[in-house]
């Protein structure tokens, strides 16, 4: 069984870069780059299947400033191998173009059984890629999965639903997006995995090797076009308490609430 996991590398949200600055790659160091937590949920889903079914798990990263770093971490978590796709012509901000790139990668890989990815592409706040990819592939899919059980015909999957959870069954070959749930809580890297990752040879593919030209996956092919990008100016200022011991912070808060005549309690 072969599972492909598409992961995204993002700038850590812990980085103190606000608003548009967060997206300025010149302000970001390699230490700031992490695997999207949503992608880690997908990695965990694949690795659980690897544990249970001896599956082969290939991590693929297209999005990120240093995809190689993310892929080595994926191998350290337990992935069998990894593929890096780097090409400046690929415009990954448009989810449809990203879906086309993913299809190109899967075609080059050849045989596969299951594709897993995170629910959210965080760098573009996009939730569309799972649906778009499955539609492009013509494969069944379940999005927002919270738990997954292997059954004879495929998978029994519980997915997020407003007001509860929906249980469905899906055939063996398909696409699943994994959400931030207890089941998909990612494992840590292991010492053995870290050593394996250090030695791993990660191939680098280009758009041309995938048979994709810039008029198919480049910026000129994008249908989602950015008109403007600006910081949001909040109409209210938060009263932030950052300094002091816990008791001083509480005193500070209570005195400010009193000053502002905010009633605590019913």
């Amino acid at each position: 069984m072969k599972i492909i996991v598409f992961i995204e590398q993002i700038v850590s949200t812990q980085v103190k870069l606000q608003g548009v600055d967060y997206f300025d790659s010149s302000r970001v160091s390699e230490d700031d780059l992490v695997i999207n937590p949503s992608s880690k949920n997908a990695l965990e889903g694949a690795l659980k299947l690897k544990d249970d079914l001896s599956a082969e798990v290939t991590a693929v990263c297209v999005r990120g400033l240093k995809p190689n770093k993310a892929l080595r971490e994926a191998i350290a978590m337990g992935c069998t191998d990894a593929i890096e796709v780097v090409d400046e012509t690929i415009h990954t901000d448009d989810p449809l173009l990203l879906a086309k790139v993913y299809v190109g990668i899967l075609e080059k890989i050849g045989e596969f059984d299951l594709v897993l990815l995170g629910v959210e592409e965080q760098s573009t706040s996009s939730y569309a890629i799972g649906a778009m990819l499955s539609e492009k592939l013509g494969l069944p899919s379940v999005l927002y999965a919270e738990e997954l059980e292997v059954i004879d015909t495929g998978y029994k999957i519980g997915h997020v639903l407003e007001g509860g959870r929906k249980i469905v069954v899906m055939p063996k070959k398909g696409v699943i997006s994994c959400s931030d749930s207890q089941y998909f809580t990612p494992r840590y890297t292991s010492m053995r995995g870290i050593l394996t990752a250090k030695r791993a040879v990660i191939p680098v593919w280009t758009a041309a090797e995938l048979g994709l030209s810039s008029n198919v996956v480049g910026k000129e092919a994008a249908s989602l076009v950015e008109v403007s990008f600006s910081n949001i100016v909040l109409d209210k200022e938060s009263y932030m308490i950052t300094e002091g011991e816990p008791e001083e912070k509480v005193d500070n808060l209570l005195s400010k609430l009193k000053e502002d005549e905010v009633k605590l309690g019913v």
């Binding site: 449809l96 069944p140 639903l161 007001g163 929906k166 950015e226 912070k249 019913v266």
Partner: protein
């Protein structure tokens, strides 16, 4: 300009965010016709009337056993047919789990991308502008879509529902769709409804915990503080999913929507999925991460460990 809205049904009524989207569209200049598609095992006249009241001019209905519960393929097939009949300029759905599943698929079939979780929609000349917050709502990207038909989802909770709608009866067109085995590859087994034994909607004070609480036993401090304040407790889905707290207390897109006078968010990062269910007069946030999104929405914020802060707060309020 004509818009087609995914008429989402939840517990035999029109889903609230869908009504919000329709109300928003009715107030965007340049939009002249709003149509909606209602799909289901059965579609009642009450649902159609409700859409009409909120400003929908025409409703397409498709009734089939395969549409009883949302599944991607039967719904995509039905919508592609309806889009051909409607010829809208924009197809939009409220950003629910189903809306976010459907819209990107429809966009793929029309060879275009889609805008997601928009918080505003404007018309500039003949262009739709889709306003999309990014980086925990610190920045705004405005997109347009190149293509004959545009596709978008709204953010849950982004648009308010008109409490006194006054529209009339819409036109109705029934559409017949037949489904093959290929449309039924994913099969529905059951929906497990979350138990809602506590109604948080009318709570005036809520103390809510997130992943930062750290465990079931640690939730006691949230309970204690809520009790002292005479309020209720709440939680994010991450906490109910791991059974730190009963699912009835889940607040957010997939839980309850609340509008208290005071909301204390402890160890909550501030994901849109949670905050879309919170409309508080005053929000106090406590989080160790100074960059947490929750502070963008807080009136008062303490950067610190809730396990150190809340016991002291409890003690001082008791004293």
């Amino acid at each position: 300009m004509k818009i087609l809205v995914f008429g989402q049904i939840r517990e035999e009524t029109i889903e609230e965010n869908t009504l919000g989207v329709i109300n928003k569209l009715a107030n965007v200049s340049g939009i002249t016709v709003i149509e909606s598609a209602l799909l289901g095992g059965d579609v009642s006249n009450e649902l159609i009337e409700e859409l009409g009241k909120h400003g929908v001019n025409k409703v397409y209905t498709v009734k089939a056993p395969e549409l009883e519960v949302y599944l991607s393929r039967p719904y995509v097939k039905s919508f592609l047919e309806i889009i051909e009949k409607s010829e809208p300029n924009l197809v939009i759905a409220a950003g629910t789990v189903y809306g976010e599943d459907l819209i990107p698929r429809l966009a793929v079939h029309h060879g275009v991308s889609c805008a997601q979780r928009i918080t505003d929609l404007t018309v500039e000349g003949k262009e739709f502008h889709f306003h999309t917050p990014v980086r925990d709502d610190q920045a705004m990207k405005i997109y347009k879509i190149e293509g004959a038909i545009k596709f978008a989802t709204s953010r849950s909770g982004a648009f308010f529902v008109n409490e006194n709608p006054s529209g009339g009866l819409p036109d109705i067109e029934t559409v017949e769709i037949s489904f093959s085995d290929e449309d039924k590859l994913v099969k529905h087994i059951e929906i497990k409804k979350a138990e809602r034994t506590v109604n948080l909607k009318d709570a005036k004070v809520i103390v809510a915990g997130g992943r930062g609480v750290g465990g079931k036993e640690q939730f006691q401090i949230i309970r204690d503080l809520a009790k002292i304040l005479g309020g209720e407790i709440g939680a994010t889905r991450a906490c109910t999913d791991v059974n730190w707290i009963e699912e009835t207390y889940e607040i957010g897109q997939t839980g309850q929507s609340v509008s208290p006078d005071l909301y204390i968010a402890a160890g909550i990062s501030g994901a849109p999925q949670h905050l879309s269910g919170v409309k508080a007069k005053t929000l106090i946030a406590i989080n160790t991460d100074e960059g947490a999104a929750i502070f963008n929405y807080a009136d008062y914020g303490i950067v610190g460990d809730l396990h150190a802060i809340l016991p002291i707060l409890k003690q001082k309020l008791q004293g």
